[in-house]
Amino acid sequence: MLRLDIEKQLGEFRLSAAFTSEGRVTGLFGASGAGKTSLINMIAGLLRPDRGIIALDGETLDDTQAGLHVPPHRRRIGYVFQDARLFPHLDVRQNLDYGRRMNRLAEDAAQRRHVTDLLDIGGLLDRRPGKLSGGERQRVALGRALLSRPRLLLLDEPLGSLDEGRKVEILPYLVRLRDEGIPMVYVSHDAAELRQLATQIVMLRNGRVTALGGVKVLAAPL
């Protein structure tokens, strides 16, 4: 369960959002500039709220009144960025292994095979990120986040930098990922995408939550 009640001033823009999410896949929906990325950056710990609380499964991650801020590397929250952000100096295998090494987890060949099969990236292991297509890069980024064994996965428009053909290529993998049962927060400005993936919707507009509920709230105008 993710509980969040925060305020953040970013230049002229004011983000003020509160919601509790029980859903397996929380869709964070809104136009660009609504504050979606800032919000999940705060969940990841990359951005500190000016005021408020963020808690995950009963553990407080941010509490400005108590002066508490758990840094990103101790949150065990995976993050798939819109632009993949694979490490250019490491090959795909090393990128996938990165989270395990940083968290000093034991090697788990079965888990790695499971994830590489799930995302069909077993054939890319020896390649460098520079030699991957956009869709392949995004699949590797998904695998890399998954293999760090997060308790929550944040996805920031993971299809955003792909053309239509590539989106169709990746979407089935995201559905598979959802069916793995790992809780996700999925950011998108595309209602159709969220209808396929999300179990709960948080609608964001100009830095405020305007609607909350099942996927049917997507029918409401932005």
Binding site: L46, P72, R75, R85, F87, P88, H89, M102, A145
Partner: protein
Amino acid sequence: MFEISPTEWTAILLSLRVAIIATLVATPFGIALAWLLARRDFWGKSILDAAVHLPLVLPPVVTGYLLLLTFGRRGLIGGWLADHLGIVFAFRWTGAALACGIMSFPLLVRPIRLSIEAIDRRLEQASSTLGAAPWQVFATVTLPLALPGVLAGMVLGFAKAIGEFGATITFVSNIPGETQTISSAIYSLIQTPDGDAAAGRLVLISIVIAMGALIASEWFARRATQRLHGN
């Protein structure tokens, strides 16, 4: 005839030793400082930045004299080091290395700083969300990606160190076998009657060393860049 005399050999080997030690010791400090200047904001940052560049703009003789005042046997730091740790810089080859390290420091720091500034900070963020503590982010992402800059800085620093003259001769004088580097040997030779041939040989050798360093740095930088661009 191109025959190198033992005295000349001594000067060449001493120069290499001084420049290599100066570069190796200065590099970790250079990386730390470059990172600080590139990635952190703090009070007095512009003063620190200026202080790092000072040896570049001060007359070398001033830097040498200041070193003598601070690291000489009666100097503030030099006296303490000599009394407590037995480390003496004055009129020793270690002093030459210190002078060369300080004189080449701005050239060492600059390319490292530029390459750290050029690193996409979003990669560092990605690293932290995967569980990397700040020092791990530095060791596994920042430093490897800054490697071309580190190598370039080391070669530039080495080249400057091996050619350093003014601060070295002011601080540690020109003692054959102890502090007489190629530069100070050339200086002595051209003031000696019949020293021209020997000076000429040393001049040629310093050109060869400098060219070698530049070619090596190009090669390293190209390889490192290839590595980083994911090919």
